[in-house]
């Protein structure tokens, strides 16, 4: 991670925040978006989140999980079960992290 890359990356992410949060608010004249773009707005956040996390969960250095002795599997299963039971994001994070830590520290997975 070269320093300039991280620095420019973070500065750009800050600009992205300003752009997204002010998208329709900041311009002086109202912006009209085509209907398909508005519809795409519904799926893009889900697609982006899933595209980022799915490889983080099922891949290790670019290959699919080869062993069941991987704390991530059980952390994700428990977090998933918690979410659909209680629907709370906070509990989802906490339950999954508890399982992750127990397996990593307890069993060295």
């Amino acid at each position: 991670m070269p320093q300039w890359y991280v620095g420019v990356g973070i500065a750009g992410l800050a600009v992205v925040t300003v752009l997204a949060r002010g998208f329709f608010l900041a311009p002086d004249r109202e912006i009209e978006l085509p209907a398909w773009a508005l519809q795409g707005l519904r799926y893009a956040p889900i697609a982006a989140l899933v595209a980022v996390i799915a490889p983080e969960i099922v891949l290790t250095n670019g290959t699919l999980l080869a062993t069941w002795a991987d704390a991530r599997i059980y952390a994700v299963l428990v977090a998933t079960a918690y979410f659909w039971w209680r629907r709370g994001i906070l509990g989802t994070i906490l339950s999954g992290t508890a399982v992750l830590l127990a397996l990593k520290i307890g069993l060295g997975w």
Binding site: A14, Y43, A54, T80
Partner: protein, 221 residues
């Protein structure tokens, strides 16, 4: 505002820890939380930064994760559209999810009123303090936690929860499944382009499904 700000604080703590445990320096993590101020986008950016993805992929991914704010901004315009431009930009920057939820509940009528600005500023300040305070604690703590504990993965679990909360109907499930498969299958692509492939595939399938099976009562954004 106390109960939800506990949630914000916990989320900020996880983000602070995950930033440092992904390998980012403490200085970079501090800059990120203070400047970017967008939890999901920060967490989604981490694997990309670590992999050295091209900047446009990093920024485009963050923008997609932030698209909900684009939708909120159309609503904010109805309340604050008459303010000077620089105020609108500053106000937009501090308008996070909770501000939107509480504001829409308190002022259901979409027209300007004098008490709206102080209400907004109070909530936004409270949210900022809860988030940044917890995030700073997370950054400092993470520096002392062993890396083998794998706590960076808590960031992925947080995003998992956010994703589940966005899955509303069958079409969004299918779009998500397609995006996941595409991002994993295309992992061999250079420059982290598998993320772009996943987003494109998910959105394309979503739009196709919308065309084939339109909602009974179409939503207006």
């Amino acid at each position: 505002m106390v109960a939800p700000s506990l949630g914000i604080a916990a989320w900020g703590l996880v983000t602070g820890v995950a930033m440092v445990k992904s390998g980012m320096s403490v200085a970079a993590a501090l800059a990120m939380t203070l400047l970017v101020y967008a939890g999901s986008a920060q967490l989604a950016a981490l694997p990309l930064v670590v992999a050295g993805a091209p900047l446009w992929v990093l920024w485009a991914t963050a923008f997609c994760v932030n698209l909900r704010f684009v939708i909120y901004s159309a609503h904010w315009r109805k309340y604050f559209g008459t303010l000077p431009r620089w105020q609108r930009i500053v106000l937009g920057y501090f308008a996070v999810d909770l501000s939107y939820v509480y504001f829409a509940r308190r002022f259901p009528e979409p027209r300007p009123a004098p008490e709206q600005l102080p209400y907004f500023c109070g909530g936004a300040l409270w949210n900022w303090v809860s988030w940044q305070g917890a995030s700073l604690v997370g950054i400092v703590l993470a520096d002392r936690i062993p890396t083998q504990w794998g706590l960076g993965f808590a960031g992925v679990l947080a995003l998992l929860g956010v994703t589940y909360s966005l899955l509303s109907d069958r079409k969004s499930w299918i779009a998500a499944a397609v995006a996941a498969c595409a991002a994993v299958a295309a992992f061999g692509l250079p420059l982290k382009l598998n993320i772009v492939a996943g987003i494109a595939a998910g959105v394309a399938v979503g739009l196709l499904l919308d065309r084939k099976f339109p909602d009974a009562a179409p939503e207006r954004v």
